[in-house]
């Protein structure tokens, strides 16, 4: 499939933004400005970018502990994201959530989730809303290979299949669930085969090639929008960093890490094919890079100016009135 210049550059920009966001948040974490835990999405950018390119603001996603990329691809404000990580009142969740709990309901992001597999039923329910109210919205659930062994995966995919819900299950197979390699977590080579147990299509795609992700996601989105039901989309990928910031990665060899990082770099790949296919030149891409860098700088500066989250009314924040 061919991809046009505008789409290619937009996909590139989104991926570049995610990578830069991760680089900067890693840096801020190292400077002890970010508290708690962060999980870098570096290396997996093509998945969020390729899928979310098809979504409208009123489509919903559920995300994971490794959620910055999904959030950005769904159109979030970077300043509010950084402000959240920095524990500011101006953050998306007013400092209550942190990295594992950023939501942006204005863009249909129902939230990151600290419970592995926790978002899968929620996306299913969002798709139920669309079906029930007769809209053409759809829902996407992003989750990892690890989450595919949770009971929520099983129950949700079955519900979606029998009800033909407009939902796409995007399994990001980054080869590990914390320290456990997929090879030891599954007795099957291809996670997508599970789809057949629910009677839904299962697609496996090279998750480092944003064109392929984009194409497969387009198919799944078309199916969902036209009432044809759910899809399981498994994207093979690799996380460049450890499971979390500070992971000693005892379970991986240096060789593996270096080799795979190079083989799985959706951004470097994209630069290469964009130039090779003459969709744009190096200069265009560098301009995008500079724009992204500036945007990140501005976002961090804005976030750092925000007041610390206020503890005054926490008890009133529990219930809606």
């Amino acid at each position: 499939m061919t991809i046009d210049r505008a789409t290619a550059l937009e996909l590139y920009r989104v991926m570049r933004t995610i990578r830069s966001f991760e680089e900067r948040s890693t840096q801020l974490f190292g400077e002890n400005k970010i508290w708690g835990t962060i999980h870098s999405y570096a290396g997996e950018e093509a998945i969020a970018a390729g899928v979310c390119a098809h979504l409208r603001d009123d489509d919903w996603i559920t995300s994971t502990h490794r959620g910055h990329g999904h959030c950005i691809a769904k159109g979030a404000d970077l300043g509010k994201m950084f402000a959240e990580l920095l524990g500011r009142e101006t953050g998306y969740c007013r400092g209550r959530g942190g990295s594992m709990h950023i939501a942006d309901t204005s863009k249909g992001n129902l939230g990151a989730n600290g419970i592995v597999g926790g978002g899968i039923p929620i996306a299913t329910g969002a798709a139920l809303t669309a079906q029930q109210l007769g809209t053409d919205q759809l829902a996407v659930s992003f989750f990892g290979d690890g989450a595919a062994n949770q009971g929520t995966f099983h129950e949700s995919l079955n519900l979606a299949a029998i009800w033909k819900l407009p939902v796409i299950y995007v399994c990001e197979n980054n080869q590990y669930a914390e320290s456990l390699p997929v090879k030891r977590a599954f007795a099957v080579e291809d996670i997508a085969v599970r789809a057949s147990g629910y009677g839904m299509p299962g697609l496996r795609v090279d998750g480092r090639d944003v064109r392929k992700v984009h194409e497969a996601a387009g198919e799944a989105v078309g199916r969902a929008r036209s009432g044809k039901g759910p899809t399981l989309l498994v994207a093979d990928s690799y996380r460049h960093e450890g499971h979390y910031y500070g992971d000693p990665r005892k379970y991986q060899s240096k060789d593996e890490i270096e080799g795979w990082r190079k083989r799985f770099d959706p951004i470097a790949d994209a630069r290469a094919w964009i130039v090779a296919d003459r969709l744009a030149g190096e200069a265009d891409l560098e301009a995008i890079d500079r724009g992204v860098a500036q945007e990140i700088d501005r976002a961090v500066a804005w976030a750092e100016q925000g007041p610390p989250a206020s503890p005054i009314k926490l008890p009133e924040d529990v219930y809606a009135t």
Partner: protein, 345 residues
């Protein structure tokens, strides 16, 4: 976040004010009526659960609703507790007002993650971005020989979760009024029925009937001691109070009705009047919600108490099967009488 192309209309306002005429009905019929009226009033209200369609629910609470509202609003599901509850959370976040029927509260151990980590905490974690207007209806309690996996009383688990409301009606009228309020609430509400209350009868207001969450109800007035209780034990307490009255002891029976938010004011007012309190519940005593109420009273009305705040609750055992065993582990009316006399005497 109302869906862009949604075709829902806002719910039409209620008929206005509470009806004064009443009709005798069973507790499960009263619940059924609340569901029907709210589903008629607001098309965003749907019911999700196992066995709720043709069969009408394990306790016939949804009987007839399939015919009235069809299979998309009465969504019968496979056996997938966490999937269902999670789907309700997602639906609630995006514009529906789902009511989940979980067949037995004992099964909540399968869905607890979605109840707690997702439904209850969503609003707080995400800084108030969303609302989770859902009701989890289920039933608990012993008395039908269903044994240890179908007879527990687990309100203490839910009470200990920030972000949930918790309701346990004892009468048909309260069942209807509180369920209506729960459905209209914008928070996740755990609504616990009792399997032995379904076939109890009482006068229920016709038409729209709302009992606001957070108000205890004095089911019988008295001056000698306060019995604080809820759910089926309210009936035992009333039975005990009648016996006690014959023996010259005037017990006041406070039906808590809503465990969260708790109507501390009404409970404390009663204690200030009687100076003695007996907290009664069916759940096992250790860590039961009776401890919360007794501790709260001890803390806030210590000087008003003429006797130690006493708890009468289930034995710290699972519920056994055989009928006589089952009764022996859960407070019966006679046990309440005995405990009250000890407290007063």
């Amino acid at each position: 976040m109302p869906p862009k192309t949604a075709t829902t209309t806002e719910p039409r306002p209620g008929a206005g004010g509470q009806s004064s005429s009443t009709r005798e009905m069973f507790y499960n019929e009263a619940l059924n009526e609340a569901l029907r009226l709210e589903m008629e009033r607001d098309e965003r209200v749907i019911v999700i659960g196992e066995d709720i369609a043709e069969h009408g629910g394990a306790f016939q609470v949804t009987a007839g609703l399939l015919d009235r509202f069809g299979p998309t609003r009465i969504r019968q599901t496979p056996i997938s507790e966490i999937g269902i509850v999670g789907a309700a959370v997602g639906a609630a976040l995006t514009g529906l007002r789902p009511i989940v029927e979980l067949m037995y509260v004992d099964f909540s151990g399968l869905a607890m993650d979605q109840i707690v980590n997702q439904a209850a905490q969503n609003r707080f974690m995400f800084g108030g971005q969303a609302r989770v207007p859902m009701v989890l209806r289920t039933q608990g309690g012993s008395g039908r020989g269903n044994a240890a996996q179908h007879s527990k009383s687990l309100e203490a688990w839910f009470a200990h979760v920030a972000g949930l409301k918790l309701v346990m009606p004892a009468t048909p009228a309260d069942a209807k009024g509180l369920l209506t309020a729960a459905i209209r609430d914008d928070n996740p509400v755990i609504f616990l029925e009792h399997k032995l209350l379904y076939r109890t009868k009482g006068a229920v207001p016709e038409g729209e009937h709302v009992v606001p969450l957070g108000q205890a109800d004095i089911k019988r007035e008295g001056t000698d001691l306060t019995i604080v209780t809820w759910s089926r034990e309210v009936l035992f307490a009333l039975e005990a109070a009648a016996t006690l009255a014959d023996q010259g002891i005037a017990a006041e029976v406070v039906d808590v009705r809503t465990l969260v938010p708790l109507d501390k004011a009404r409970i404390l007012a009663s204690v200030r009047k009687t100076h003695r309190v007996l907290v009664v519940h069916e759940a096992i005593k250790r860590g039961g919600y009776g401890a919360e109420i007794a501790a709260m009273i001890a803390e806030e009305a210590f000087d008003e108490l003429d006797a130690p705040p006493k708890r009468l609750a289930g034995l710290d055992t699972p519920i056994p099967y055989a009928q006589h065993l089952e009764k022996s582990v859960v407070p019966q009316a006679g046990d309440i009488v005995a405990a009250a006399k000890e407290l007063v005497g």
